[in-house]
């Protein structure tokens, strides 16, 4: 069975609905949350006059030295009309050329094409790269590790990995 593009989008949206409210930081060491600039509970008046600081939060950038850019080409059979997404943002139909700061964070991309399963891949920014996207129909995906013909299930909340890594 294959899926239509709207169904794929819907599937992606269902997958995104189960997100954690605490952000998607590192597993096992998920970011904690503190209020900015003051404690959550103030049981009494402060014992000292509290100076006001407007620079307690992390600086926006790390002043990374300008290391130039890298060019990443994403190739796919043009007949597939494969859209490359970064989150919700549609970066276009493959072939797509991305120019990113060298050494910046990797990008997790989702490729969606009619009659194909969504493909999740990652591009790295330490060098120029060309990536040929291999898209799978449902039938082709049957040969992949982990394949199960049962209907996909969706879960809410953190993944198994998140739960097991965050040991209580």
């Amino acid at each position: 069975m294959t899926r239509s593009a709207p169904a794929l989008v819907a599937a992606l949206m269902v997958a995104t609905l189960g997100c954690s409210s605490r952000g998607g930081g590192t597993v096992g060491a998920k970011p904690g949350r503190e209020p900015a600039g003051e404690a959550a509970v103030s049981p009494g008046p402060p014992t000292v006059a509290a100076p006001v600081y407007d620079d307690l939060e992390p600086a926006a950038s790390d002043d990374r030295a300008d290391a130039g850019t890298v060019t990443i080409k994403l190739l796919a059979d043009a007949r597939r009309q494969a859209h490359v997404f970064w989150g919700r943002k549609d970066l276009g139909v493959a072939p797509v050329v991305l120019v990113r700061p060298r050494g910046s964070a990797p990008m997790d991309l989702t490729i969606q094409a009619p009659d194909c399963l969504p493909l999740h891949t990652r591009v790295f920014t330490d060098r120029d790269d060309t990536l040929s996207l291999r898209l799978y129909t449902e039938r082709e995906a049957a040969g992949l590790p982990g394949y199960s013909p049962t209907a996909p299930t969706t879960t809410k909340g953190p993944t198994t990995a998140t739960k097991t890594r965050r040991q209580f």
Binding site: A15, G18, C19, R22, G23, G24, G25, T26, V27, A29, P31, G32, R33, E34, P35, G37, E38, A39, A40, V41, P43, G44, V48, A50, Y53, D55, L56, E57, P58, A59, D62, W86, G87, G103, S104, A105, P106, D108, L117, P118, L119, H120, T121, R122, F124, D126, D129, R134, A141, L144, P145, G146, S148, P152, P158, T160, A161, T162, R165, Q167
Partner: protein
């Protein structure tokens, strides 16, 4: 009712800077050439190069600091972003207000992060919010899952009713008097009093977590160790480097009972330790003996013919750095951070008179390593009836770094590590078996040190943990999970690894064989307290980075660069296809010459003197076939990570 904060322990006052070390104040230096010197109650900007020329060491206090072993690795910027609460493990920005508490994972907070903690805690909102005496009145607070917790609370109430009824008959004035007797009623009374004390301490812990801003009291049910409080407790423990993993034991209670500024002060001391020992190029941390006053504490022969104790340079370097900053108390630290706005931590450095390196130091030290496997059991840990058999160990594995000096092996650092043992593993038939995953014994070498190493998952790796949800481009999507593969602090190989290679000499010279064992950092800090690895020798991430930073500082090496892995694997998960792409195995450095590593067999316990090869069925499991699958033994299998 809250108690006044306990008086701060006496700490030595900073010594004034020696006149010979004082440099002229130069206010117009560019940041990259500027260091500070604390003189009296003020600070002078001085020329960092002039400080070095005078024999001072410039300690980097900036948010750009990272262990030197990460130099040249692209992961370095991820490390500094994590330390400064700027970004996540992929280098992507974290949401406003999120904090990375990663010290237990080898990433100490940047000084701008500590500045924030000090300046908020100095406002005193938390100082009187809890009673430390109540927290310290118990040695632990027992906690349970939700349903068991309800049962325990119900048992407690029922016990209280029984004791109230029993007290008049026993002629006891109160429960304390009842507890001083014998018999079941007295035992019940003791347990009741203990439980009561724990509940009181629990209430103080709730206040403590809330006032520190770690727990939202509106989402927490008072008196219950619910998810909100467990999460807050784990954050608290990770923030303050307590290894209790959400249990509330003695170390957690002590941290909860301390004033926030005292905890901040300890965190600052730990962060400065890493920076100071790296600036000095040191490794000796006092770990080679139980006490420097112990007469058997290791010594080395000096040029003066006298024997000198192996120094604790980590402590000395930290104290020198804090002294140079004029910081002896939390209040000093608050004053220091008030003097320096956040942007100063883009460049801030301090000129310090560190202790001189011992005479055995050089750029090419004759280093060697010994790994003692400790007590080793080869016996299968279950009897014929499937009952687990105890396999106690008195000696645990440890790694010792030596330098050869004047014909003697001088130990510099000795740390707990891990060895392999019996592990459950998914075999090629998809079923789980036991297998003895031992650690190679005999002479080996470290020839390659790998920074930001990547673990390639073997085909048998379960797929369940290979995806996760992540915020991407402002929305949540499922992505391939690279945490266990790395590069990163959660990688199965940690942030740095050394490959154990077996050197065999032949007519064509030395040949090297990789038997799959590494000494590597590990996020899995509980495993360093008595669990088994898959054969590798794990170290706490921060110690692994200290060790290999030191090795690279004091041995000749060459960067061979990122080693291509070219790994690409597609798999199916819940109706979607995921690719795992691992372009490199990490940044390799080759040591010239390699460092000898001797892995000692340890003390073999039990009846078997050799390990059982291959898989052993798990007791109580019904297998599809009686034929056992063949076991593979790749380096990736050995590292194992979190795979079963």
């Amino acid at each position: 009712m809250t108690a006044a904060p306990p008086p701060a322990p006496a700490r030595p006052r900073p010594q004034p800077i020696a006149a010979a070390d004082a440099l002229p104040a130069l206010s117009d230096l560019p940041p990259e050439r500027r260091a500070i010197q604390v003189v009296g109650s003020g600070e002078n900007p001085v020329d960092a190069d002039a400080a070095r020329a005078r024999g001072l060491v410039v300690v980097d206090l900036s948010d750009a600091w990272a262990p030197s072993v990460l130099e040249g690795a692209s992961y370095r910027s991820v490390f500094t972003g994590l330390a400064a609460d700027r970004s996540d493990g992929d280098g992507q920005p974290i949401a406003a207000g999120d904090r990375n508490y990663l010290e237990l994972y080898g990433i100490p907070p940047a000084l701008s992060v500590l500045r924030r903690r000090f300046l908020i805690d100095a406002q005193g909102a938390c100082a009187r919010a809890f009673d430390p005496d109540v927290l310290l009145a118990v040695d632990q607070i027992r906690t349970w899952g939700a349903s068991t917790e309800q049962k325990e609370l119900a048992k407690h109430r029922a016990r209280e009713q029984r004791l109230r009824a029993a007290r008049p008959d026993a002629g006891a004035d109160d429960l304390q008097a009842l507890a001083e007797g014998d018999g079941r009623t007295a035992r019940d009374a003791k347990e009741h009093l203990r439980f009561e004390a724990e509940r009181l301490a629990f209430a103080e812990a709730e206040k403590r977590l809330a006032c520190e801003g770690l727990m939202d009291a509106r989402k927490h049910k008072a008196g219950a160790y619910d998810t909100e409080m467990r999460t807050a407790m784990l954050d608290f423990q990770q923030k303050h480097a307590v290894m209790d993993q959400a249990d509330i034991k003695q170390a957690t209670l002590e941290a909860l009972a301390r004033q926030p500024l005292d905890n901040d002060f300890d965190a600052l001391a730990r962060a400065l330790t890493e920076r100071a020992i790296q600036a000095g190029g040191f490794i000796e941390d006092g770990s080679v003996g139980s006490s420097v006053s112990d007469p058997t504490y290791p010594t080395y022969l000096g040029a003066d013919g006298a024997r000198h104790r192996v120094p604790d340079l980590a402590t000395a370097a930290r104290e020198a750095t804090m002294n140079a900053l004029g910081i002896a108390t939390p209040e000093d630290a608050v004053a220091f951070f008030r003097r320096h706005p956040r942007d100063d931590f883009r460049w801030l450095k301090v000129a310090v008179r560190l202790p001189p390196p011992p005479e055995y130091y050089s750029r090419a030290m004759d280093l060697s390593v010994e790994i003692d496997r400790g007590d080793v059991w080869y016996d299968f840990p279950f009897d014929a009836a499937g009952v687990r058999q105890p396999q106690p160990r008195e000696r645990f594995p440890q790694l010792t770094l030596f330098v050869k000096w004047r014909g003697e092996r001088v130990p510099l650092a000795r740390w707990r590590t891990t060895v392999g043992g019996w592990r459950a593993e998914v075999a090629s038939d998809g079923q789980e078996y036991y297998r003895y995953k031992g650690s190679d014994v005999g002479p080996r070498v470290w020839r390659h040190i790998v920074t930001a190493p990547v673990w390639i998952p073997p085909p048998s790796s379960p797929l369940g943990a290979m995806t996760k949800e992540k915020r991407v481009g402002g929305t949540y999507v499922r992505v391939t999970n690279y945490e266990e593969t790395g590069p990163g602090f959660l990688s199965a190989y940690g942030m740095v690894a050394a490959i154990h290679e077996e050197m065999r000499r032949g007519p064509d010279g030395a040949r090297f064989f990789d038997n799959g064992i590494r000494t590597h950092g590990s996020f899995d800090y509980p495993s360093l307290r008595g669990r088994f690895s898959h054969g590798c020798h794990r170290l706490y991430n921060q110690l692994a980075m200290r060790l290999f930073s030191f090795v690279l500082d004091h041995r000749r090496s060459r960067v061979t660069g990122p080693v291509a892995a070219g790994y690409r694997r597609a798999f199916w998960s819940r109706g979607e296809v995921f690719e795992m792409r691992l372009p490199t195995r990490g940044t390799y450095r080759e040591l010239e010459p390699p460092i000898p590593v001797d892995v000692l067999e340890g003390r073999i316990k039990g009846t078997l003197t050799k390990p059982i090869a291959g898989y052993v069925p798990k007791p109580g499991v019904t297998y599809a076939s009686r034929r056992l699958p063949t076991a593979t033994d790749t380096p990736e299998d050995r590292a194992g990570g979190d795979a079963p």
